[in-house]
């Protein structure tokens, strides 16, 4: 596909890539600088701060008017719980679709495929009204609760992930469980002891992608949570910086860096795994 480039051609290529790298990294470097810059005002910021300080980071954890640690904790709890339960429930469903032959299986698969096309947030009005209704009967599961939000996320995660895992289970040969079934294990035991351990890569992919997706979710969290103590990081940060770019830029930058670092720390080492999941195997030939 490529022929050996001339010296100039090679320099041009590197130059183009470097323009790209600057484009990619400029915003990141800019807020990194802002987070160490003593001023809180966007306008007075320079790329290399004159007197770097950790003051903004300190404030994030000590200033009681900025519930940043609480937001991170809320987000991690909501995303973590959602991801773990998603993996388990979707693996169960995917196993049934992959291994059992039952009436309605085909229709079920088709329905799953159609339902996962529907972006859940399109039903935000209905979900909002539903959770308000649930609150009347089960207060801890309704509007403005984390279990309620997790429940909504779980519903949204089922379609695609079940479908996705089923594809992987199909590639695990049946013969691996058959001896166990012959020895008298129930299908559930075979699933738990034999298939799940073999499916670890896909479980990890779904776990990580679901965690990252939920971590970044904004719309539903903003509709279903009320009050700064309940916010997730996405809702909290937006609430924090809105209309306050001249007053809170430094503290916001520190929060943005820490919030992104958590995801970067998961994403970069595992990028191959995650990317294989996100592109859904469509590019492999």
């Amino acid at each position: 596909m490529y022929s050996r480039p001339s010296r100039i051609g090679l320099i041009v290529r590197h130059a183009l890539i470097w323009i790209g790298v600057i484009y990619a990294l400029f915003p990141v470097l800019w807020i990194l600088s802002a987070s160490f810059n003593p001023t809180n005002n966007l306008l007075e910021q320079k790329l290399i701060p004159a007197n770097p300080t950790l003051e903004h980071y300190r404030r994030l954890f000590t200033d009681p008017t900025i519930p940043f640690p609480k937001w991170v904790l809320n987000t991690v709890i909501v995303s973590g719980t959602t991801a773990v339960i998603t993996v388990f429930l979707c693996a169960l469903g995917a196993y049934a679709f992959s291994r059992f032959r039952f009436r309605g299986r085909r229709a079920g698969l088709l329905a799953l495929l159609l339902v996962q096309m529907f972006p859940q947030m399109l039903a935000m009005v209905a979900i909002y009204l539903l959770l308000i209704k649930i609150k009347e009967f089960i207060p801890w599961l309704g509007y403005n609760t984390h279990p309620g939000l997790i429940m909504v996320y779980l519903g949204g995660a089922m379609g695609f992930n079940t479908w996705f895992m089923k594809g992987y289970f199909d590639t695990i040969p049946r013969s691996v469980e058959e001896s166990a079934l012959v020895d008298g294990a129930t299908p559930f035991q075979a699933f738990l002891r034999i298939v799940l351990p073999l499916a670890r890569p896909i479980l990890a992919v779904v776990l990580i992608i679901q965690f990252i997706t939920t971590y970044s979710e904004y719309v539903l969290a903003s509709i279903l949570l009320k009050g700064t103590e309940m916010y997730t990081l996405a809702v909290g940060l937006r609430f924090f910086i809105q209309q306050a770019y001249d007053r809170r830029w430094g503290v916001f930058s520190a929060a943005a860096i820490l919030g992104a670092l958590l995801i970067l720390a998961i994403f970069l080492p595992l990028q191959k795994l995650i990317i294989s999941g996100l592109t859904g195997g469509a590019v492999k030939e």
């Binding site: 596909m1 490529y2 022929s3 050996r4 090679l10 290529r13 590197h14 890539i17 790209g20 484009y23 990619a24 800019w30 807020i31 966007l42 306008l43 979707c90 169960l92 469903g93 196993y95 049934a96 059992f100 085909r106 495929l113 339902v115 096309m117 529907f118 972006p119 859940q120 399109l122 039903a123 935000m124 009005v125 209905a126 979900i127 539903l130 429940m151 779980l154 519903g155 089922m158 379609g159 594809g167 559930f188 990252i212 971590y215 970044s216 904004y218 719309v219 509709i223 996405a234 940060l237 770019y245 830029w249 943005a256 992104a260 970067l264 970069l268 990028q271 990317i275 590019v283 492999k284």
Partner: protein
Amino acid sequence: MNGRSLLTQGLKYGFVALLDAAVLWAVIALLFRGDYILLAVLGIGTLLLNFVILSRRAYPLRFLLPGLVFLFAMVVYPIGYTVNVSLTNLQTGNLLTKAQVIAQLEGRYYLPPQPETFTFWAFRNAQGKLALILTASDGRTFLSQENELVPVDLSDPRFVRGEDGTVTSFDGYTRLTLPEVYQSLGALEALDLRLGEEHVRLTSVREFGTFLRKYQYLPDQDAVLDLETNVTYYAKEGYFTSPDGVRIEPGFQIYVGFRNYLDVLTNPGIRADFTRVFGWTLAWSFLSVFFSFAVGLGFAYLLNDPYVRGRFVYRSLLIIPYAMPAFISALVWAGMFNTDLGVINRILGDLFGVKVRWLQDPMWARTALIFINVWLTYPYMMIVSLGALQSISQELFEAARVDGATSWQRFWRITMPLLWVSVAPLLIGSFAFTFNNFTIIWLVTAGRPAVLGAATPAGATDILISWTYRLAFEGERGNQLGLASAVSIIIFIIIAVISAVNFRFTRALEDVSRSV
């Protein structure tokens, strides 16, 4: 059957029995409360659960049910509910059910032609029951008995009088001091005492007054009669409306059929907003995907070149925008594009001496949004293209080179067509995702700048989904939940069409039929 499975069997039946007992108890409780919908849901759910646990034939369902419960409750049911709401007039002013509105109207009163006022003494007995002695302006006195006012002669010896000659206690009731009266205002306000035709209610801290009931519901005519003016208001289009068109607020929910959909398509104001928002949504999705694919493919092409060194490091750096949580990137970019304070305008100001009104001018706001979205998504396109490029066989290029094709020809005649096959479904998927990418729009511009004279709260950078959000939740012009739901369903239809096109590429449907 060995001992262990006997134990599990025992546990299973024990669990089912306990569950059924609990549900039975809840069913009886709900029956008394008259909550039939919840009762039906609970009853059907429990029957299904019994079937799944006890029947052999339902064995696969034991695996499927846990996930299905969430899928049904939080996706399928909300879809159905959205369709339902889209057929109603649910909005600020029509949020209550008809029964609630009737109850509210029947609790309204008006002042009679000759209103009477009463001073009052409030009393309470040991059980906490309130009683009142009212004195009319002409000196007649009344005692409250339950909800009736009866004339009473205060010279009766059972009324004990204090030093100033006023009644301080009777029949076990003692008079409330003024502070106690203040504490009991809520209870006093709730009192509705009957004096013949008239209702006597609290009008101020010191006085009760006479009122007449304002409205009466006439079930046979499905109308509300105004007892003061004798005008009948008939239920019409979600309001009780008089023959000459006067409406009583608040209105109530009714089914309006496809009116919300027709409004979107035919109401001049709403249609203008819809057309503008839809046009921008298409442009936003198309341009975002186009430019991010162009940029991503460009980098992929450079990074795939075996003669370029340091490709792994470059790749890791170029991928960073994709690894950042999108909401953080969006908020950071919003700050950088800030017209007065942002770094972009400072650089442009230093270089060219211009100040671009990024988030105030519609065209610049749209440009900024697409620029930001390209930054966010080109790494995805780069990864996808890189994978596709690597899977193209080198032999084709050798053959082309032997035949004397230039590198430009090789790219357009060989690389692109082969790349296209594997990348097209992902581009369509990306288009559908961008179409509904609420987060970026909302966190960068929130749909602003506003459009003057728009019939609905639709800003210049609102896409369909953010318009829906504003219709439903933004307070300024009320919450138009019915219209918002109709727009949701329209978006869904558009997405379904896009996905249907995509299925032709991915052949996912064939997967369904093949694996059966």
